[in-house]
Symmetry: C2
Subunit: 191 residues, 2 copies
């Protein structure tokens, strides 16, 4: 035990940032064996702690999943922002995320977790949408620190709807990435 993290920033207590380890373990299990296999006990096992240790960091299983999903939204947002100001590239990035992180994508949008119960998750999701909005609506958004979809423009919603629809088809395995990509390019930025 007491393995110091590579970047020995704080190494808080016994384990040395168990919260981080739990989130990583959960994401690993999620991608390897699907969401059904993500149990608190299994996560604890992988992280090398007792079956109740996770409760010091997450009040419930859903809270842990919400944490994983929130980080997923963070990665999605990073991909979208990396696409620059090109709306079509953002659509591609969205599709790519749905494919590369399929299980996490399904968790994020599967609605097994009610966003109302997890403010951090809701705001992470909103932040990802804002990245899209900055380009689709052509304006920077400032105020309203969380939870208000009304700060998102209608053009963004439309773009999101169609991109997400295709991403869902691809994630469901009902459509190839190439076909979706082509369809998206054909539709793409046009109103």
């Amino acid at each position: 035990m007491k393995l110091a993290v590579s970047t020995s920033e704080k190494a808080p207590y016994h384990h040395g940032d168990l919260r981080r380890s739990l989130l990583d373990a959960a994401l690993g299990i999620l991608h390897r064996d699907g969401i059904g296999a993500v149990s608190l006990r299994e996560v604890a096992r992988v992280a090398g702690v007792s079956h109740n240790a996770p409760y010091r960091h997450f009040p419930s299983r859903d809270a842990l999943l919400a944490g994983v999903a929130a980080e997923g939204f963070g990665r999605l947002r990073a991909r979208l922002e990396a696409a620059g100001d090109d709306l079509a590239a953002m659509g591609e990035a969205y599709l790519a995320f749905a494919v590369a992180e399929r299980p996490c994508f399904l968790l994020m949008f599967g609605s097994s977790l009610c966003k109302a119960n997890f403010p951090d998750l809701a705001s992470a999701a909103l932040e990802a949408l804002r990245a899209l909005d900055r380009v689709a609506s052509g304006r920077a958004v400032s105020g309203g620190d969380a939870c208000e979809i009304r700060t998102i423009g209608p053009a963004t919603l439309r773009a999101w709807a169609i991109v997400h629809g295709f991403a869902h088809l691809v994630a469901d395995g009902q459509l190839s990435l190439e076909a979706a990509s082509r369809a998206l390019a054909a539709d793409g930025t046009a109103p």
Copy 2:
């Protein structure tokens, strides 16, 4: 026990179509208490049978949920077909279904069940899409009895993607039905 069903068609064995009762009970629990509350034991309790009776009709909990989802696709298809040949009306019908049967809608598209494991579910989903395709692609589809999305035209896929995207936003509670309806009308049938 042995309550004869109103339409005493067959009354197969002891219970008189337990499979039907289980599906109904599961749908009721799903709508009342959410998907997490749909356990085989609770369903059996509601149906008034022992905790293991469901296994004579469904090999697993997921199989039961798949049955519920398949019937959901049947109802969605009925709504779409009732919309006639009007693509905009079909979009409305899709949204209306997502709102009226929100928990079931989330089950159907939540992807906690892998369609590959449940052929009946996959074909039910495909049939619903075909109803859309008949109008969006303007042609009747005949062959390929199941599981091949390639028999669905690209125009249909595009229409489905955007409608489903908005339906997802509404089901998630992030957008009002009216706003989605308006956005859909604005986009609607235009390519």
